[in-house]
């Protein structure tokens, strides 16, 4: 019978069994390079200016313009590493309030999201910077694409072989803005029941975020979507301009817009909140606990300048609303005071 003897294997023997020395060297080098590459760069302020990571949470519809603005900003400040995360405006706010994820700047498609969820516990101020408008967007492959126009879309979209998509009012400002636009359209075009007809049709094509609708339209799953004009321009899709009385663009029609209301989910399941129609305003804030305030302030100034950030916003289909009045002028950082009105 064989005698089993127990012995320690030395580390060298074990490694020798599994790794030839050359291979160990390769693996060690690889690990060192890997960790060096991916190590966080920190948020120190270098002598030359601002540096480090800059974390921006933003609405889905700001993805394209913000990417361009970040690229331009990086040319002036190559030391800053801009990290952007797109999500629904409410989901972005939740990442800050509930998950405690570090964030420098939060930009929302609806300024009320920041006012309701972040001020005053996580932020002190809220600067409005851009507008947008609702429109009907479609691709060339859409059914009846050649016939549809601003006058007949309400009939064409109701046809049984036409499919349209919209976003979830409970999750996304674009969703409740769509419902508001439909209510305003019912009054404007004098077609009673229009809103309900639209809300009940094609419910299977509802998606949580407005930019999810792009997947639907680009795969031909739907023919038309209700989304912002800026997104249509950025993705080179065709769109129908809707009258200012219904498209939530023009502050001159604010009282008209205020006549419609939408109920969405409140703070707890079962609770409801009422949103009133108003002109669409995008806003942003710098979080009180922002890890890299210096870079955030510089970026904010860049974003709000007429010939830099706002020029890019305009090119991407979003008009500027700078400067807008704020209620708490004294809380606005000094560098950004020129961009607001008292």
């Amino acid at each position: 019978m064989q005698n089993h003897s127990y012995r320690f294997y030395t580390f060298a023997e074990i490694s020798g069994m599994f790794l030839k020395p050359f291979h160990s060297l390769i693996i060690t080098t690889f690990l060192l390079v890997f960790f060096a590459w991916f190590s966080p760069k920190g948020t120190c302020q270098s002598a030359a200016g601002i540096a480090g990571d800059l974390v921006i949470f933003h609405a889905g519809s700001l993805s394209v313009p913000f990417k361009e603005i970040a690229a331009e900003f990086k040319k002036l400040h190559p030391e800053v590493n801009i990290l952007m995360e797109a999500a629904g405006s409410v989901a972005s706010a939740r990442k800050i309030t509930d998950l405690g994820k570090p964030c420098d700047i939060m930009a929302s498609a609806d300024y009320s999201v920041i006012d309701n969820m972040l001020v005053p516990k996580f932020a002190d101020w809220n600067i409005k910077f851009a507008g947008n408008e609702m429109c009907v967007v479609y691709s060339e492959k859409a059914r009846y694409a050649s016939q549809v126009n601003s006058g007949n879309w309400t009939e064409i979209l109701q046809k049984p072989d036409v499919a349209f998509g919209r976003s979830d009012p409970n999750s996304d400002p674009c969703g409740y803005r769509t419902v508001m636009m439909l209510q305003l359209a019912e009054k404007y075009y004098k077609k009673p029941g229009l809103k309900n007809r639209f809300l009940q049709k094609d419910q299977i094509y509802m998606r949580p975020k407005e930019t999810d609708l792009l997947a639907l339209i680009e795969t031909g799953t739907v023919d038309y979507i209700f989304i912002y004009r800026s997104v249509a321009i950025q993705h080179k899709l065709k769109y129908l301009t809707l009258p200012d009385q219904i498209n939530l663009k023009n502050p001159a029609f604010a009282s008209e817009y205020a006549s419609v209301k939408v109920e969405i989910n409140g703070k707890k399941p079962g609770e409801k909140e009422t949103m009133s129609g108003e002109p669409m305003i995008y806003s942003f804030t710098i979080l009180r606990d922002a890890p890299n305030k210096a870079a955030a302030l510089t970026f904010a100034g860049f974003l709000l300048s007429r010939d830099k950030g706002m020029k890019i916003m305009l090119k991407n289909g979003q008009p500027s609303v700078v400067p807008t009045k704020v209620d708490n002028y004294e809380k606005i950082p000094a560098e950004l005071k020129p961009f607001v009105k008292k």
């Binding site: 320690f8 939740r94 509930d98 998950l99 795969t219 031909g220 799953t221 703070k267 707890k268 399941p269």
Partner: protein, 265 residues
């Protein structure tokens, strides 16, 4: 007294660390959820419906696609053909494709204007926004697990047993059902459970194809976005507890037969 060698201690330590790695985040979530939140969530009809729906759709998808996937696994185990490695690689693809990309691909595959979509419309079925579409998305990302497990199971069945049966006059079909399948069954069941589990948790691919009806991963995401962590976590905890009991039950069922025969032997 049993004396453990250093090697045995080392592997026990490693095992404990890995187990801790899996348990710790889940335990954190369980601890953060109060029993009252959990009970009120369990009574919520929307949550109940969502969990039921998720389990049923994944179950149906697993069973439906298994009918074709198991024969494929058998072929891969038994036959050699040109480009076999390519086929094996393609089968593993759904695991690495980013979920949103998979969802968009599936959307294109089943939308109204596609071949599959048109076939569906012919029988009045639109995959988008329908449990059938959800099942397709779930199956797409989870099939590799079943195919690989089943293939390994069939590979473990000695070919000479099959050949012996053939020489004794059994048809290939009879050989498959009475020799190959029963002997590979344990691996196949493991693969089925894995496919079922993976399908249930899919989010990125499913949400592209269907937001409503809401499977539980989508519901958790929606609740988190709308109401916050306090309302999303209980749903997660509930879903995990129910899934855990289902898996334990399935594994016990799969084991019982083996244990019995081993005890009898």
């Amino acid at each position: 007294m049993k004396r453990l060698s250093p090697f045995q201690l080392a592997i026990t330590l490693a095992a404990a660390l890995i187990l801790l790695f899996i348990v710790a985040p889940l335990a954190g979530m369980f601890v953060a959820t109060s029993p009252s939140d959990l009970f009120s969530t369990a009574r919520d009809a929307e949550v109940q419906q969502s969990i039921r729906l998720t389990i049923w759709i994944s179950l149906a998808a697993t069973v439906f696609f298994a009918i074709a996937a198991i024969p494929l696994a058998y072929l891969l185990a038994r036959k050699d053909f040109p480009l076999k490695s390519l086929v094996a690689g393609i089968i593993d693809l759904p695991v690495v494709i980013p979920h949103s990309a998979a969802g968009i691909a599936i959307l294109g595959f089943v939308s109204r204007d596609s071949v599959v979509g048109k076939m569906g419309s012919a029988i009045g079925l639109n995959f988008v926004g329908h449990p059938a579409g959800i099942a397709v998305a779930m199956a797409f990302v989870s099939l590799p697990f079943l195919i690989n497990a089943a293939r390994d199971g069939f590979s473990g069945v000695p070919v000479r047993l099959e050949k012996a049966a053939l020489t004794l006059g059994a048809s290939p079909a009879r050989v498959f059902f009475t020799i190959s399948l029963p002997l590979a069954w344990r691996s196949i069941v493991s693969g089925l459970i894995l496919m079922f589990a993976r399908g249930m948790s899919e989010f990125g691919a499913v949400i592209m194809v269907a937001y409503h009806p809401m499977i539980t991963p989508v519901l958790i995401y929606e609740r988190f976005g709308a109401f916050g962590l306090q309302y999303a976590q209980p749903v997660s905890v509930l879903f995990i507890l129910i899934s855990l009991s289902v898996f334990i039950a399935l594994r016990l069922l799969a084991r019982n037969k083996k244990q019995k025969t081993a005890a009898d032997a």
